[in-house]
Symmetry: C2
Subunit: 221 residues, 2 copies
DNA sequence: TGAATAGTGTCTTTAAGACACTATTCA
DNA sequence: TGAATAGTGTCTTAAAGACACTATTCA
């Protein structure tokens, strides 16, 4: 037996920050904990890595997300790894944190009770406040130079929808005309021919993403 | 006993990408492995987390770096976490990877044999090629909008030194005048009064960082 | 017609990049 | 003086931001 394998091993888990937009506000989907510690309290969805079942930590995150919302998130990315003696009362632990973007349209209404605006989140157990802070920071940062926020929208959306979601994720007002110019230059979306959203006003052209992958921009939006 | 704690636990380790500049080239410091697997081969310095000794994974990385170069790196940051069944023959493992910047002036000459330009790195064991690729990408990216490359320089340096190191880390030619204008606007460095580097030409003003922390810029360098 | 949202043209300000210039030392 | 590196001024181009304008629908 190798010497190193004799070392005591930390606990290894994943935690996920699931973003969605509800009523034009950036929200996180939380889960009520079924087991101790912190049984019954709201926390980020998470769980231990299952070495038999999961090929890697991202697989574990996908499994946790499927269990929580019933389908895969259109965008998933590793956020940061939190570790140490103190963060979990069960012992020295490593949590590989992920964040994901989930279009609200895909969530059935029963989930509404489990979403909370990020700006009014109460104190979460473990170091989940820290994870949330880092996830929001990453989302806001990537929103300024990539197509990331578009993954919060359903397949077809208007330029106004996109404008709103960029403002939500960046937490800033963006000039409508400049936003449209810049988005159209990036070639991340294309008009869906003949599809419009109608209302008591001029119909709005519907668009869709040109790629399922995240596209980074040369310049800021 | 809690149900979850009965799960088999993965191996937990840290690996470090230690950047330095040698002969105006971006290099990595590698270590020859003392134990199997891959005993005797060159790899990124790394090791298992010691739950008794290390407060968290970053502590473990610092310990590994001190063992390797004899002092703490002026800049250390978590890079990404690599995990899975396949990456290590000893079993399902999690490696929290870090990257650090080390001024060549601090390394004694005996280390020179262990540094390799990043662009000619041969195939490394485990998934270390992947770690290196990600570390280089992160370094290049942060070099375009932060004071990061300055951590590769000794305490006092000329504007030309800084210009060179930004070009090395970004892998691009930057206009000298524009670079100087932009750097001076960022307030990341200050002239050291009365200190100049002399040679067979006009003496160059020596500068130092105004802060030991990384400073992100509003715009690109 | 007016309210409501969709969508465009263009001007001003600011930053980025290129490039030519001056400065100071030593041999 | 000329080679070598240090350091600056300024012009051109391109991007960012502001804002006013036109367009199309329904009530």
């Amino acid at each position: 037996m190798l010497k190193e394998e004799g070392f005591p091993r930390p606990l290894v888990m994943v935690d996920t920050a699931l973003f969605t937009i509800l009523d034009e506000r950036l929200c996180l989907i939380l889960a009520r904990r079924k087991e101790p510690p912190f049984q019954g309290e709201l926390a980020l969805p998470g769980g231990f890595v299952h070495v038999q079942e999961d090929g890697d930590a991202e697989d574990a995150a996908r499994r946790v997300i499927r269990d929580k919302i019933g389908f895969d998130a259109p965008y998933l990315e590793q956020l940061y790894t939190f570790s140490g003696k103190q963060r979990d009362p069960r012992g020295w632990s490593v949590s590989v944190a992920y964040y994901a973007l989930v279009p609200a349209a895909l969530l059935d209404r029963s989930r509404a009770a489990e979403t909370f605006p990020v700006d009014i989140l109460s104190e979460l157990p473990f170091d989940h406040d820290q994870i949330v802070a880092k996830a929001v920071e990453r989302l806001r940062s990537k929103a300024t130079y990539s197509s990331l926020p578009a993954f919060l929208l359903p397949e077809e959306f208007t330029l106004n929808d996109l404008h709103c979601i960029y403002q939500q994720t960046q937490g800033a007002i963006l000039d409508k005309a400049s936003f449209r110019h810049k988005i159209m230059e990036q070639d991340i979306i294309e008009a869906v021919p003949g599809r419009f959203r109608t209302g008591a006003h001029r119909p709005a052209q519907l668009y869709r993403l040109t790629s399922r992958a995240l596209i980074p921009f040369e310049r800021r939006i």
